[in-house]
Symmetry: D3
Subunit: 220 residues, 6 copies
């Protein structure tokens, strides 16, 4: 049915393990009568978004991809929300959701102060800027780097570091909600939540849930 | 299937026209294979939430209703988000979404500064407090009262005043997104949007969309 | 003389030891020619305000008490300031002061950044919301829980934990003023101040002082 | 009795009409058995605090006055709160209250957003800085200048301009509480309140009420 | 002398009139013994930065230009500060200054609240995001669009609209400093200042002054 | 040439070692063809600005000095920016730059969050107030006292404590830029930067660079 439509979740990096983690994370949002949810990676993207240049380098490719793709809604599945506003221009009114944006918004409903598990010190700086840009500084406890690449986070070896980061954010910064600051970390959500004892938000899931809502509500 | 579950949308006032407006607003979120979405009113509630006492008077009844209701998730469909945190205690871990909360969060993704169409000057004050409590003051342009009751807003006569409020928020306060500050206003969303030329958020829809997401994601 | 009037200090919980602590705390504000200061407890209240439901459960009883009580001003002596705005509606223009409100305002005049000694982690969350609601986040160092009930704090055994919380707020959070986050803690003010070496605010005292001022100034 | 003590209210300017206005404003706070309340002007002060230099010029004289005066508490009765922190150093632990400080704090308890009636555009700038310094920007609607000297405001001719400023702050800036931004305006409080229909705060009254509270509570 | 070095001011758009306006604006900062100041345009850039895509499209070209250019410091002369952080990565430690960044910082020293003359409603939104990202929202009065392209602003016909925007920002938004929100507006600075009666900041000048400072101070 | 003009850097304290440190710090900003840069101390000033009274005591002498001095621009070289706004009134339109002001603004361009190395706990409080007054709280990590006088900081013995303060601000408060909170610390800038591994800002240098810019741009 036309109402149901199609959501394209784009991983702005070209990593297959990260894409697979995203694929698994969003699967529960596929509903019989609901929108198709497709996941793809930006084949021309870098293997991970590590530097600011990496983030900026995918903006035009994402704009071009969205401009020519017939999907009804889009999710940018990188926690830097690269090119979010430019892609919205390219989408011609179709919904475009950023995962950092929706991960942080969801966190606001689960506690008073959120912390973010970050890839690296450079990610910490980008997140500080982004939280301020969103105007959410009053709810932000800080970010904690795990010194890993996006692709690393899709593997098992990093789990202990994610848990440690979550614990430090809770104990030393007073975070009562943890947000996973990379799409690749999706498979560790429950383990980190169980170990840290605080709600943990997997951001791609919430951006897709929002896209689903936007699609259903577009006609009314 | 158990995963799909049931969302109960509770109108904390006892007004039938307001409840009918809510019912119509959330209908597009009923998806084959997705959660059941039930809408009910608090029969013991006041006809509308006008005073702070009205808002506070429904908290314990809402807690009691949620504690004994077997639904899997709840939406409190009054823009004062009455008793949101107490109801969460009563829900024993089941998701509870407030419509002001989610209406404002959705607005953050549609523009830089949101304004709220309010029922009355007393509502304007409550909204100012709530926006500060959520830590969203940096994105808030203000509220504009239409001097109507909740039940009034479910009728046609109020539409012109809603449009006028939206226009004033845009022109005089710089709002680039408008949030409807009462569940009863739901039926006017598109008309206000068309007349004002800014995105208009119907908050109950987004609280239900969030509840739907929470239900689907609860098991993973 | 009519000008002097009567201030009713209501302890929203039913605890006798907490009420006795309040009684002792406000005694110095009784002045020969000044207002009568009466202290009472809400007999229908819970033994302490521990949960959000506890806080919300006393709102209507407090409104009703104030509506029928002939006193000239009221102080709500629970640090959750339960029902402050609803009670103001019920008071018909007579002053109603909250102890959290006035404790925090007094703290602003004694240092740059205040910390709050809290009963429990749940209180910490309520305080975070309330500080944001008041718009005072720029002056807030945080809250530190002592894991005690309101009634516990009126006894001697808790003193060491109050001192420890004050020290942690000063040393780890940079608080240069400490606010006691429960009316029951009143009897420990001086001891905590001496031990921590920072000004310590007993909030009920300052709400009563404000009520006294409001009464004297009401006619001019 | 020693507990009662003496509060010295110092008008940092040398104007007799302003001093007389202060004298009248604080009279209701004289209570049998309560502290003596003396009012004086800084004879070496300028006729009014108009420029930043005026404000800064009275700091050392105020420090010296307080250091050698045996009063138990002090109120600095100029809305620039000149030298508040230096005078506190000079007071050796005795309470020193600023009228801007306490006028703004009182306003926080009467509405959501306060506006200030200012003497001049230069005062508006000083007030903007001071509100930020206090960390109260989230509650501030702005200041409105009446283009008058401090001494002018103690006369009758200025009343219409004060009312007009209050009305503009309410209607155009959304202020729901008005603070009189000069001690000389004290005699107009009730008239402005009646004309504007919003609570109006006379700041010297509230600084004296706070000094009274501090004196009574000093020993406990 | 090596210390003096070379500053390259890059206009990220390809417009010759805009580049000429920049050239004239920075001329007074050329000092006999000081750094060389070169001005160039990004020949591959769009004729003006109007959309978010325009802004994002110049990031990689700017990074590449800076990476291979031997200048000692760089100024990005577009008020969107496009790619500021990515270009800093590319500059290998050499100073990179954004004109929005330095225009806003200079404005903070000239008044309490700044307003920005913007090209278009889309620029207004970008500026709102950028002011928040910089954490300067407490000093921001808003932006006013003149509905012109960058190249338009380098001509004479736009001057009246710039003056009008400055006047509206001062009168309706309370701005006491005006920032010109496009490098092309540089030639109108004095005229707008004279007409509006408020200090007006030409941002490229202050970014170049900062680059000059950074170069002189790099060795110590 | 008239354009070049003369900048007078005034050390508000009378300390010769502090003045010598300032002299050395600003030397690189002397450019052939650029403004003369003179450094002097306020001979009537205290040996260091330790108390709030110290800071306030130099305001009128600074105003008088500036009013009668024929220099074209002024820098107040004390991190309390004493009398900044009064001195601006006295300067009759000539630029007056504060070193705290410009040190903090420069820091905003080097990282996300700045920390300040302070002389004493009293300085920490003044800095907290000043950062709020400037509206920069969203970028402030805190201040760390070294328990030294201004004159102490001009010597070698204090260097280890400065490094330690910088390290604590980085590690415990998350500062990614360090600002030296006293003009006397200037000679340690590079050593602290090398030891801490974060950019370190010497504030007098940036206030002088800004004065230089203002002088060059005054005529256009």
């Amino acid at each position: 049915m036309g109402v149901s439509g199609r959501i394209l979740v784009v991983n702005p990096n070209s990593s297959e393990p990260v894409t697979a983690a995203i694929e698994a994370a969003v699967a529960p949002l596929r509903i019989a009568g609901g929108p198709e949810i497709a996941v793809d990676r930006l084949r021309s993207g870098p293997p991970g978004i590590a530097t600011q240049r990496d983030a900026d380098s995918v903006v035009l490719p994402l704009c071009d991809l969205v401009a020519r793709d017939p999907s009804d809604a889009f999710v940018l599945a990188c926690f830097s929300d690269p090119g979010l506003h430019a892609v919205r221009e390219a989408a011609g009114g179709r919904p475009v959701m950023g995962i950092a944006e929706w991960g942080l918004l969801r966190a606001l409903t689960l506690g008073e102060s959120f912390g973010i598990v970050a890839l690296s010190p450079a990610s910490v700086k980008r997140q500080a800027r982004y939280v301020r840009q969103m105007g959410l500084g009053a709810r932000y406890s800080g970010s904690w780097p795990v010194d890993a690449s996006a692709e690393d986070t899709a593997g098992d070896a990093v789990r202990g570091r994610l848990v440690e980061a979550g614990r430090r954010l809770a104990a030393e910064r007073g975070a009562d909600v943890i947000v996973l600051g990379c799409a690749g970390m999706a498979g560790h959500r429950r383990a980190v939540e169980d170990a840290v004892g605080r709600p943990v938000v997997e951001p791609t899931q919430w951006a897709v849930a929002a896209a689903l809502g936007a699609l259903r509500l577009a006609a009314c």
